[in-house]
Amino acid sequence: MKKFLLLSVVAAVLVFAAGNVRAELGVVTITGSATLQTNDAHASPLMKTQSVALKDIFTIIEQGNGDTSLTNKHVTTKLYYDPDAVDNEAYDSLEGQGFGGTLPSFTGVFYYSNSVSGKVQLDGQDPSSGGDYYSYIELDYYDAYSGPHGFWNSTAMEAGSAYTESDTGLSFKSTGNAILYVHSNPYSYDLVGLESNTPAYYYANDSVGSYNPYAITMHGNTASTWSYNGAGTLKETLKLAGSGDVIWGGAGSGAFSKGTFSFSGQGGY
């Protein structure tokens, strides 16, 4: 009886906390395959498929912000994500750019960290342009358990999601769909559906929106988990598997396939 009451109290606390879930930074890994077209003046066009790993994501960002430590082989750089952090800079800046009244509360912040540059947030307000918002990476999705993330817009991408709760009320699983966008032009962020009345996914090519010399976009299914240990620690994971576009400088554009985005974080709640 006592155990039942205790679990009931814990479950009640967690239900309340669910609207305010909070996870610390967690490490992100990204992999996939980029198939680009090679054009030889003396041969027919060919397709070349190459593997994409985290070092290539750092190359995209470096092409945007000029931080050469990102691709320095003697420097260990990691990519971090905090899925539940409220991105006030995004909201404040975009509200000032004329989207006021239509913006949701943005959650989800990306960072990279190494011994040379320290911890660097991958979005913010550019002081040189009077506070215009910039971003190098976005992850947009709606989750039935934790709500909207990134620039998710119900008029522009999937909103279908489902979640399940364990009998103890201490663990949850969910599934849905997400868009991941990494790009070298910091002003080419994907305000999905907010810039037009036509719902649309974002494409990593220079015929839509701003120009990107280097970009990868991926769209697909997500699988998330939350585990509470009942003592104030929450562990959260997110996996995205999908495909999309790639732009790779002089190599042009092509298809990005077998893409994976993996996140695992832990912190207090």
Partner: protein
Amino acid sequence: MRPKVVLTLIACALAVISAALILKPRKENAVPPPPVAEAPATSEVVNASPPPAPAPLPVTPPPQPAHVMTDDERQSAIDAEVGRLQDWSMNNDPASLSNILLDLTNSEKDVRDAAIEATKQFDSTNAIPTLKAVAMNTTDTDEQIALLEAVKFLELPPLTFSPPTPEQIQAQQQRQAARQAQMQQNQNQAAPPAAPQTGNN
């Protein structure tokens, strides 16, 4: 009493006495007890060494109860190993790869999953034989698929950097210039009008 009776009694008594004397143990014919070994006197010891003391029996410590990790301890150990795998995956030395490959058969699934991801991030074809061998010996279908997918990933050539073409650079510069002009226009529109100047006659 008749003399015969008296003589008979005397003869019996003499016989009893004689038997007792014959059967009585004599000291001079008793088997002496074996002599007790006596320690020699100190003054008699010259070069004799004392017998070696018997070797002490090995003391076996009582069996310690096996430490059973709590759930938190187990999770902390898993998280620590996953963190090490993430660090090793960003290196490029053989020792790091060796550590990663060892964890492909770790008893914890979270560690094995992290090891598979780490082999992909490390991006070395030297991991392929181990990945294939572990895939053949695993009974978890999903894990087998993940291991073989990692093999396919590593068999691909890595993406090489391709610098932008002059046309792409020019197009980017044009867009940046257009953006700067738009921002300047926005600032001019937002700036308050200059106050009119008044002259003195």
